[in-house]
């Protein structure tokens, strides 16, 4: 097990370095950062001096070497906009993103999986059709649009919930629903299809023949066997929720990493973009590792080597 984890961590580190390299060159192709933070009435000569001072006039390879040399020491440089360490800018937003992502994941599991089970066990019924319809709608609605509709209904019209910001549980409700909508649909559809396959297996028929209750058969035998697919989906969903949070954080003014990253990209604040890229890459890598470990936990036939 330790060897497996070590191997995965080494592979994960390579992924992070490759991701950083790709992001480094891509953001530098996006244009001149000085144009966006210097006032428009800065003269060409002064612009050049700023570029020189900040090292943007150096060859790209030199900039890359300098960046990677500092990055391995945890130094991503200073935000060109905020003039403070880029890693601190991103890290202070991490808890908000994790809170929203975790809440959305829990909600997606709590609603999506039962919805899928109901649809599968009542295959062809009105419940099945309703669950499928809800799943399609949730998958089809863009996150930012759903978010705005929820704000209009629950904040502007009914006045029940705040429109934006982070604070008590009331601030978490609308962004969580918005962020989890797509995941709920995915969980419901996958649970339904996997359960339908499993429910036709011989061992399920045997379990019924032994006189076990339908509840026991579905939850202990069918769902356990269907859970391998759900674990795979959860690994993907963690990445998807982090990505989806970018839009939801923007709409709801949620002070998370996604919102900060969007602003940094629009402003070409390269150090912040790079620091965020590292954190995103690490989160994806850890999520994949946990997914692999969970396989073995749920299904002993999977050998971790």
């Amino acid at each position: 097990m330790a060897r497996f984890i070590t191997g995965r961590l080494v592979a994960g580190s390579i992924v992070v370095v490759l991701a950083l390299t790709a992001v480094f060159f891509m953001v530098r192709l996006s244009g001149d950062p000085v144009l966006l933070f210097a006032p428009m009435d800065t003269s060409t000569k002064d612009m050049d001096e700023i570029r020189e001072r900040m090292g943007f006039n150096d060859p790209l390879v030199t900039q890359y070497g300098r960046f990677m040399g500092n990055a391995v020491r945890g130094d991503f440089g200073e935000s060109t906009r905020q003039q403070r360490p880029a890693l601190a800018v991103v890290l202070e937003r991490l808890p908000a993103t994790l809170q929203l992502g975790a809440a959305a994941l829990v909600l997606a599991l709590l609603i999506g999986v039962p919805l899928g089970i109901i649809a599968a066990t009542r295959h062809g019924s009105g419940w099945d059709k309703l669950a499928s319809l809800l799943a399609v709608i949730a998958q089809a609605i863009p996150g930012f649009w759903l978010g705005l509709l929820l704000i209009l209904l629950f904040s502007v019209f009914l006045g029940w919930l705040p429109t934006s910001g982070r604070g008590g549980i009331e601030h978490l409700i609308l962004p969580t629903i918005t962020l989890s909508a797509l995941s709920i649909a995915r969980y419901a559809r996958l649970t339904r299809s996997t359960m339908l396959d499993v429910l036709h297996e011989d061992y399920i028929r045997t379990a019924y023949a032994k006189g076990l209750s339908a509840r026991l058969v579905v939850l202990r035998h069918a769902l356990t066997n269907a859970s391998i697919s759900l674990i795979t989906l959860t690994g993907l969903e963690i990445g998807s929720l982090i990505g989806g949070a970018v839009v939801v954080e923007q709409v709801f003014g949620w002070p998370g990493m996604g919102r900060e990253t969007i602003q940094a990209l629009l402003n070409r604040d390269f150090p912040v973009v790079m620091a965020a890229a590292v954190l995103f890459a690490v989160m994806y890598t850890v999520a994949n590792l946990l997914t692999d470990l969970a396989y073995g936990w749920v299904n002993p036939r999977v050998r971790l080597q």
Binding site: S30, G31, D32, L35, L36, F37, A38, P39, M40, D41, T42, S43, T44, K45, D46, E49, I50, R53, M54, E78, R81, Q82, Q83, R84, E92, R93, A96, F144, W145, L148, L149, I151, L152, L153, S155, V156, F157, G159, P162, T163, S164, G165, R166, Q250, V251, F252, G253, W254, P255, G256, R259, E260, I262, Q263, L266, N267, R268
Partner: protein, 521 residues
């Protein structure tokens, strides 16, 4: 000029969604709202929705509109744009006197002005501001900006002497940017400490900054200059405009800026808020590139044809619903240096066609690309399309190329735009910050080069006599207009959504000053 962070790229899409849905839903909203205003003279709280956090709590660091309006509530500038002077720069913490061509002296208005921590404001605080910005280690945006001011010498407790290497009529513009900082406090807490707990001499004191959420300021009861009508100001940060608009209609915030024209009715009909508009000093124009060999607009006849061929008044009436003010030339009417003799080009399609033929082209033969930003300026994408439609009627086919803002700037600076590009400029309340920057050789933002104009600007930029300088500015404006350097468009109107619980008047210089807001009568 401040680089703005307003208008995220999906603003219009989301604004349209929000406007449509709101129109159907917000009429007759319930009146149980969070209290903003109460009876009495002072407002207990005013909440302002902004798109972004300040970038720093330490002044003299970063040039950014959003940052500056928040800092200006905590710190005083040396000089200020004064409504009583039609927004010309006038005295504030003190006044500046011209000693000779290269020497100026700034004198504080009173020995009794104090920082929020009780330390007195002295000339040392002015020097501390310059020293901070001029230290390259601090990477201040003002390092290059204030470079023409080469010497800062403290004469006595109230006076500093500023020296320049060349006559520098722009000095008031620069003093309008300087916020004194407390040198004793800086020595005690360091730069990071100052950023965490900022101390100024301004009308509000720092309470709390929760990044990504809000900045809270309380009234400074000992403010030296005037009574402030608001006990607490909260700047709340919501990046998405539609969400800020929703927050206004939900009565969570009291003021938002840049309400799109297509949402004006929604706000006015809400019963919760109203629109307060004011012609802004920010100007919009279409540059007709004359300083690139491959541009068709090296020919002045075609530049004039464009000006005669676009129905600017019609676009203002149609696209902007009247919420823009036509410009005659390169300076807006708000500018004290505007040449009122300069007349706008009349809409005359026949004359435009004749000029095109005189330039040697047949109708429909000219194809040009116009680069335009999307969501940067009010109704910019619609306006660009309307301009293109107008020109197609006189035989100039315009393909509009929309750009993300950063890309737009990149293309302009690297001269990679089409032969036309759409741009705004502001706050533009003085010729030195407008004509003297835009129409000189190393600026690409006007994309108009004329040695005669440049020579006049060089002369004006070193002329300290106001009347003589005005005479030169008049000539510059006349030449730029005659030459049809741009397609002259309009001043934006700044459109604010303001809660009905609040009485507040916007300013043309885009400074959202909250100190004089009062409860609605």
């Amino acid at each position: 000029m401040f680089t703005e962070t307003k208008h995220v790229s999906r603003r219009q899409v989301l604004g349209g969604v929000a406007a449509g849905a709101m129109a159907a839903s917000v009429a007759g909203l319930p009146s149980a709202r969070r209290a903003g205003a109460q009876d009495g003279e002072r407002l207990p709280l005013i909440t302002v929705g902004l798109g972004a956090d300040p970038l720093s709590m330490l002044p003299n660091s970063i040039v950014d509109w959003t940052t500056d309006i928040q800092l200006a509530h905590m710190y005083d500038r040396l000089m200020n744009r004064d409504p009583a002077l039609d927004y010309e720069i006038g005295p504030w913490l003190g006044d500046v006197a011209n000693i000779d061509d290269l020497t100026w002296e700034f004198t504080l208005a009173s020995p009794d002005i104090a920082f929020h921590n009780g330390n007195p404001l002295t000339a040392e605080a002015i020097k501390a501001a310059f020293d901070y910005a001029k230290d390259p280690a601090n990477e201040s945006h003002y390092l290059e900006r204030w470079a023409p001011i080469t010497g800062i010498e403290v004469i006595d407790d109230l006076t500093v002497r500023l020296t320049t290497e060349a006559p520098y009529p722009e000095i008031r513009l620069r003093l309008n940017e300087v916020y004194p900082i407390d040198p004793a406090y800086l020595e005690e807490v360091g730069l990071d400490g100052y950023r965490e707990n900022p101390v100024g001499t301004g009308p509000f004191t720092f309470v709390e900054w929760e990044r990504g959420q809000h900045l809270i300021l309380d009234r400074n009861p000992d403010y030296w200059r005037q009574d402030v009508m608001v006990d607490r100001v909260e700047f709340r940060f919501v990046p998405e405009f539609s969400s800020r608009l929703a927050a206004l209609l939900a009565d969570e915030i009291n003021i938002v800026k840049d309400v799109p024209v297509d949402s004006l009715q929604v706000v006015n009909d809400s019963g919760v808020a109203r629109i307060e508009g004011i012609p802004s000093s920010r100007i919009n124009y279409v540059a007709l590139v004359n300083n690139r060999e491959d541009s068709i607009f090296t020919d002045p006849l075609l530049r004039q044809a464009v000006n005669y061929g676009v129905d600017v008044d019609g676009i203002i009436a149609g696209v902007f619903q009247g919420n823009a003010t036509r410009m005659s030339g390169a300076l807006s009417g708000l500018n004290p240096e505007v040449n009122s003799e300069v007349q706008p080009y009349a809409y005359d399609p026949e004359r435009a066609r004749a000029l095109i033929e005189e330039a040697g082209y047949q109708p429909g033969e000219i194809n040009v690309v116009m680069d335009a930003p999307q969501g940067r300026y009010p109704m910019d994408s619609d306006a660009a399309q309307a301009i293109a439609a107008s020109l197609s009627e006189v035989g100039i086919n315009v393909q509009v190329q929309y750009n993300e803002w950063g890309t737009h700037l990149d293309k302009i600076v690297n001269r990679q735009t089409g032969d036309m590009f759409y741009l705004g400029w502001g706050p533009a309340l003085d010729a030195l910050g407008t004509l003297a920057f835009l129409f000189v050789g190393d600026s690409t933002y006007s994309s108009y080069t004329n040695p005669e104009v440049e020579a006049m600007i060089a002369e004006a930029s070193s002329t300290l006599d106001d009347a003589a300088r005005q005479e030169i500015w008049n000539q510059v404006q006349q030449v730029v207009s005659d030459e049809a350097a741009w397609l002259f468009l309009w001043q934006q109107h700044d459109l604010y959504g303001v809660s009905n619980q609040v009485a507040w008047t916007p300013r043309p210089d885009e400074f959202m000053w909250m100190g004089d807001a009062t409860p609605s009568p």
